[in-house]
Structure formats: C-alpha cells, structure tokens
Amino acid sequence: EAAVTQSPRNKVAVTGGKVTLSCNQTNNHNNMYWYRQDTGHGLRLIHYSYGAGSTEKGDIPDGYKASRPSQENFSLILELATPSQTSVYFCASGDGRGGNERLFFGHGTKLSVL
C-alpha cells in the first residue's frame, strides 16, 4: 500500500504570512496532486506534478505555488495567506495515465488563516 504523508496535520497562520504544506510519498509514483476540500465544493485541484522538477496549474491555482524537488516530495506554498485559504488540503499520488491511475491520499492538513 502506497504511503502519502502530509505535514503538518494542523496549521494556524496569520493573514499575510507564508505557509508551506509538505507532502511525501514512498511508492515512487510519478504523479502528485494538491487538492483542497471545502463544504459545498468537494475536492478542487490546485496544482499537480508529473515528476521531479515539474509543476502544473490545476483548476484553482491563484494564490498558491507548488514545488516538486524530488520524486518523493511535493510542497504547496502560500506566499501571502488569506482567510479564504482556510480549508483542508489533501495531497495525493498516483502512477498511471488514461484511466489506469488510482490515487492514494494523505490524511490532510487543516489550515486556518486568521
């Protein structure tokens, strides 16, 4: 079973501060994703990556940056956090294209921006 670990599990940040959410996966998957989960919206894709050194914008990238320095690690960066970014963030990894991909999710990071 693939393991996806997110840190921190909970984070309280101040408006205008910088926040970095980290994700590590140990199954050597090429693809990694960052989603946020909000009531009434389900999961929405923020950024994703198909391998080390690459990042792509998802459906709601504004206010977020991503970094994939290695196969195992994928970070989500909020340079200037705002209260609207209060949410639960999920990282996921997968290794497939064309419908062959099964995603493995981390346990989530609950972020509160005050």
Binding site: L43, D59, G94, G98, G99, E101, R102, L103, F105
Partner: protein, 114 residues
C-alpha cells in the same frame, strides 16, 4: 470542460436496505469514472473505477457501480447496507488522454442507521 454532479448532499437509510448513490457527468468523449470514499476522520480511499467494457464494475467492500452512457450516469450501489458504510462518497471523472487529472463531484454523505 468536464463536470461531475452528485445531486444528493445527504442520504440516510436503515441498515439492511439497498443503497444507491447518484452521479452524473458531463463530458464530450468517453469518460473514465471513479468512486472514492472518505470515512469520518480519514482520508479518501479508492473504491472502484470504470474504464471500458462491462458496464457494471465491482469494487472493494461489496460496492458496485453501473455505467449508463444513455443518461451519463455512474451510480454506486450496495445491498445490503451496513452501518459501517456511513461515510462521504465522491464520484470523479478523468477526461482521458495523456492528462490524468480527476474532476470530483461535491460528494454525498451517507448515514446508515442501525
């Protein structure tokens, strides 16, 4: 652009009853369709997927889903339901091609009363 609709935000039923969670999608070509489940306090887990072929696909935990192209639906079913099935269920669509991004519905929260 593709979209996924889960019209029922909440479904409540009694243990032993049959459950059917609705999912409809909008996509101009052949979709890849998935169901994921999120148990209380946990992350999302893969249940099943439809790629091609048999329109009824079976997944983990006794669940199955039926793909109906005629009305663009992919409903999740299980009989009988058990109290441990209480969770939030997400339908997702992958648009195919070389891009493996998933578009999720808003989710249906299922409560099974014992």
């Amino acid at each position: 652009a593709q979209s996924v609709d889960q019209p029922d935000a909440h479904v409540t039923l009694s243990e032993g009853a049959s459950l059917e969670l609705r999912c409809s999608y909008s996509y101009s070509a052949a979709p890849y369709l998935f169901w994921y489940v999120q148990y209380p306090g946990q992350s999302l887990q893969f249940l099943l997927k439809y790629i091609t072929g048999d329109t009824v696909v079976k997944g983990t935990k006794g669940f199955e889903a039926e793909f109906r192209k005629s009305n663009s639906s992919f409903n999740l079913k299980k009989s009988p339901a058990h109290w441990s099935d209480s969770a939030k269920y997400f339908c997702a669509l992958e648009a195919g091609g070389s891009n493996a991004k998933l578009t999720f519905g808003k989710g249906t929260k299922l409560s099974v009363k014992s």
